[in-house]
Amino acid sequence: MLPEKTKKWIDERTGYKNFLHAIFLLNFPTKRRSRWQFIWGGALVLMMLVEIVTGTLLMTVYSPSEAAAWGSVHYIETQVNLGWFVRGLHHYTAHMMIVAIIVQIFLVIVSAGYRKPKEFIYWTSLLIGGVIVGLTITGNPLPWDQKGYWSYQIETGIAGTMPGIGSTLRSLVVGGSEFGNLTLTRLYTIHVIVLPVIAILLFTVHMALIRRERLRTAKIKEAADDPDVDFELDEDDPLKDEITQPYWPYQTTRTLVLTLFLIGIVIIQMMTYPTLKNQHVDYELLEWEADLHPSEIKLEAPADSALPFVARPEWFVRFLFELRHMVPKDLEVLVTAVLPGVLLAILVLVPFYEKVLGEKWGQRLAIAVYVGGILIISGISWYGIQTERSAPDYALNRSQEIAYAARASWLASKNGVPPEGPASLLRNDPKSMGPLIFARHCGICHTWNGHDGTGHYIMEMKDGKKVKATPRASDLAEFATTKWIAEFLTNPRDPKFFGHVGSLKGGEAILNGEMSDWADSYVGPEGILSKADIEAVSALLAREANRRDYEPVSEAVIKRGISVFSGQNFKDKDGKVVDFDGYCAQCHAMKAGDPDDEGGGAAPDFNGYGSAKWLSEFIRSPGAEKFYGDKNIMPAFEESKLSKHDLNLLVNWMRGEWQRPKTEN
């Protein structure tokens, strides 16, 4: 690249050639047969370099605060050119490094790399491995999405159970007792400064030790090969098999091949994993339709302790999490604090096995312990994941989480993240909050398509067994649509409507009250009202609700509805004008159905029936004069029970009013 003269000029002043020689042309004693096994360390260094470069890039956009973290990562994924690539590379390479460390330590044990005089080389590599695990644990919560937030909750929870220092340690890494802004700034500092600096220092020591050991071996070898020196290696000395080669280019080529191979796997994973990761679950269960295809979801929903999320730790600490559930409560400390300590001791003490058992059996024990340990840990983790996935509500809960993630991403792309933070995207969204509010307040009596709004069923104990509870009031899915009203009018006693209210105090009066009597007398084969009449009056009522799914009907149908409602100009099945005593306006008031009506009646007022205003008023005081009056059996939801904000969300959700992708409009 540079002309010789320039190189010389620089070298005279810096000595860079010597420096590079010292690093790359250092004679590398390698066993001829197994040269490939010494390349994992180099690959780890090159992957660490990838982490440093991508991490620095991410730092230029990422912002560590509760209000900004999620939004900035979403911005990286969706707005920054190749942002998804940089973040994906950073994320998946970190996981690949943990795999590489597991392999590297295995190879070190197999080639007895811990044997005198290399104990410290072995121990520093263990420490570096620990720091990399620490980097992954502190990096994952940084986007402040549900996944990172909850896995960090678990991980710090595990740390908090350590006897003595536990709670102090937890407060130290959390930045107090609660999660929040300080948790993020602390995590960020640990992740971008503290741990990388420790890793680099450890690496420097590690390399210095390796260099020392290599030089020593090379010198011995040189002496053995030199005829002038009176020195001969023993026949069975392992150094006899080794040849010396400069690191560059013999080892560098192999190291690069492995690095590129591993990064290639990472890139393939980045491209394919998003489309695969939710394959095992039916993500459109019940009401939880996702606004984006799961493969387009870059992040889980913003961290919010009010939204349901099943917490799962990172895969490499999963076994601790699972073991914690398997042992009795009193023994938990054993699993969370003692067990990791024991595992660590087993690894650290590997060089001493040979002192007790001799070289051959010491190494065999080390291999057996290491491989066995990894198999047991993988088994426990695999078992844990399988158990979780076969749990009865797993698919439902996961599809809910996916729907929230998709909703938040879609809303953020559409509206931007509000200054108060990404959590408010979902907290102010009827589609996301409606089911939760319905389940909490209404789901005790009412149902929504048979479930409690979120897809779960209310359970009760019957004869010592958990069974689906019998609802006590009507099913409100599609409330105030033509279909719903027509079904009700045809049979108010149906279990979907008044069927179960009889079991409640005062419910009998409603179940067998005037509405049911009316249906008995006028609807059905004997009754004067035809199916078309019922549908016309239902459409008339649904028009009051004016839901977004309301399909306008013809003027003739409305007219027919009015005649049923008011009893005026009512035509029977043959088209003859007849007297009709069963008209609605006798009890229900509604201007649109009977213009002469003054309002007020024995039964609920239908002016604006099913509209947001009507529903809100009804929920606030169902026992008001204009609604059920003294016949009412539904509890009133005053401001103290149900805030105005929640009421609005609930009402809008019940009416299907929420921001949707344009194509649906």
Partner: protein, 172 residues
């Protein structure tokens, strides 16, 4: 020795691939934020014509929603303009951003000049240069009068310009 040469060749090819995998996304990542902060021209109804005194410029703050990377602020100040009504009822509007280095320009009523406190750039009330380091006069904005509900309103098309150069170049 041929083997050694081949391996050296391999090393440089492989390390180039490694470098490309890092460099291409890095450049894309860094340069994608270059377009940030560019806003479309928007018009704002700022004041009623009758509320202005002829010959006395007044400053109006432009309030609009602002998108800062991922955050969308519902409303806030995004800039300000100096509006003056001339004797013939015509309107002149200047961006209050100094074309020198982007400070906010003041008006000195006594001297009837615009004055930027940062580097003492001084402008006539018609925007032309009096003295100072500024490379061009004040940036005039398109202003018109629109009748809304029977009242005459001043409508200004707000945009931002590059500072420090002699030409008036819109940042778009």
């Amino acid at each position: 020795m041929r083997r050694r040469k081949f391996l050296k060749y391999c090393t440089s090819v492989l390390s180039s691939i490694y470098a490309i995998i890092l460099a291409v996304p890095a450049l894309g990542f860094l340069f994608s934020t270059l377009k940030r902060g560019q806003q479309e021209k928007e018009t704002y109804e700022l004041a009623k014509l009758n509320d202005l005194e002829p010959g006395v410029p007044q400053r109006f703050t432009i309030i609009d929603r602002r998108v800062d990377a991922w955050t969308k602020y519902p409303s806030g100040p995004i800039g300000s303009v100096w509006i003056s009504k001339n004797e013939d009822e015509s309107i002149t509007a200047f961006s209050s951003t100094c074309p020198h280095l982007g400070c906010v320009v003041d008006y000195v009523p006594g001297d009837k000049v615009f004055f930027c406190p940062c580097h003492a750039a001084t402008f006539e009330s018609n925007g032309s240069i009096v003295s100072g380091p500024q490379p061009r006069g004040m940036d005039e904005l398109n202003a018109s009068i629109k009748t809304i509900r029977g009242e005459k309103w001043i409508v200004v098309e707000y945009e931002k310009f590059e500072t420090g150069i002699a030409e008036k170049v819109s940042i778009n």
